[in-house]
């Protein structure tokens, strides 16, 4: 593997990932290939059944290289943890290194809504955030990607040609000059390069 294919900087502090219909297989693969000691927190906001509280986090954890947790409101963020937005709550990132939840109105027909997580993460992490948007059937996440880009973060969408349902990545591409358009293999490669870069940059 080439380790500076994407010229990834070690400045990043967090990764947010959004996805909807057709993204489950993709996220499962990404999590299974994620380095075991990946040093950044990763926030997953995936569209899911609003009224099914159980099963999803367990399904994601099966193949993941590390456990996936559904945080409670005000949960402190820990490096290297993978957080999944719980059913029927929006998940936001707060200043002071914690997660908050909200039961506000659905947005883009969704709670959790990807824009919500992305926008608040962009506000907190500014240019030290990587945003990844995967396959999906509506435009949720497009606004969030724009906000990440505006704050100087790095934006990646799954190649619409490879996405099971391309509405979501295409909407983001139409709204924002996205930094990287990658197939799943590329995203996995990118994360492994990010892993190295961030470890090198650690004090």
């Amino acid at each position: 593997m080439i380790f500076n294919k994407y010229k990834v900087s070690g400045k990043y502090k967090a990764v947010v990932v959004g996805g909807s219909a057709g993204s489950f297989q993709v996220i499962t693969r990404i999590l299974s290939e994620l380095p075991k000691d990946f040093p950044l927190p990763m926030f997953l906001c995936l569209h899911r059944l609003k009224h099914v509280r159980h099963g999803f986090v367990e399904a994601l954890s099966v193949k993941s290289s590390k456990p996936v947790v559904e945080p409670c409101d005000k949960e402190p963020i820990k490096r290297g943890y993978i957080y999944l937005a719980p059913a029927n709550y929006h998940m936001s990132i707060e200043l002071g290194n914690s997660i908050a939840l909200s039961t506000e109105e659905m947005e883009n027909n969704s709670r959790p809504c990807i824009d919500y997580t992305f926008e608040t993460a962009a506000y907190v992490y500014r240019d030290k955030l990587v945003g990844i948007l995967l396959s999906g059937a509506n435009k949720d996440g497009a606004y969030g990607m724009m906000r990440i880009k505006q704050k100087g973060g790095l934006t990646i969408v799954q190649d619409p040609e490879e996405s099971t349902i391309s509405t979501m990545p295409s909407a983001a591409l139409a709204q924002t000059e996205v930094d990287l358009v990658l197939k799943v293999d590329g995203i996995i490669e990118f994360l492994s390069e990010l892993d190295r870069a961030c470890k090198m940059a650690l004090p």
Binding site: D73, S98, A100
Partner: protein, 282 residues
Amino acid sequence: MSTELDIEIADIRRLTELIKDKYGYDFRDYAMSSFRRRIKRVIELYKFKTVDKLIQVLDTTPSFFEEFISEITVNVTEMFRDPTFWRVLKEQIIPNIIMNHDRISIWHAGCSSGEEVLSMVILLYEMGFLDKAKITATDIDTAIINKAKTATIAQKNMELNQKNYQAAFGVEGAPPPNLRKYFRDVGQEAVFDKSLLQNVTYRKHDLVQGPVFSKFDLVLCRNVMIYFNQNLQNAVLAKLHESLFKYGYLAIGSKESLIWCDIANKFIVVNNEEKIYKKIKD
């Protein structure tokens, strides 16, 4: 790229200071992300364009303030939210309280449009305990309390409410229980039988600055404190604690936790999945 309204902490601070000075409400310790988004929502709704404009309108138009409160507060709710929670109330919590007191006093803190209250009175009615109950329901938003008093719910929400009700109390092999017997259709609304609210008092109360006004066997404050920061959660939890009889129960949202609160040790966990706690120390 389109220009986007960026609301910074300094803007929020100026806004909350004005509200505190002029109207006496204290939003300074609301959770930052959700509060910032609520402010942005108001600015877009009223086409104010900037935070300064909103501040100016609030400063010069007192009549706008109640409207502002209604828009800032989150009034998304459903009947029998988290059906398994309601099953635990029915099978465990309520029978326990009745067994010890023969009466039950309940406070819905942050009751919004009253869906949770209606769920509670229906459950108590079905258990035969409605006459033994004294229920107080409070909210900061006057308009939403007035709506709650009408016991009216939009028909479009009834499908979900019915689904939750069925999930909570349906029994395998028996015909599914139906909420229909409690309401009649009036246009686009489901109007519930007013006698269900006979032992309910709705009143305006601000959890942040309002006093402790009574003691209860059971306090429900679900998905309300998520809009407060940790400092304010600590302060409000102290009030909820004081409002409970010793060995009374506190219910919070399924994804809330007392772990990070500074008086967590005055409670024990009764049901971790449904986030039901019991006060064990004064």
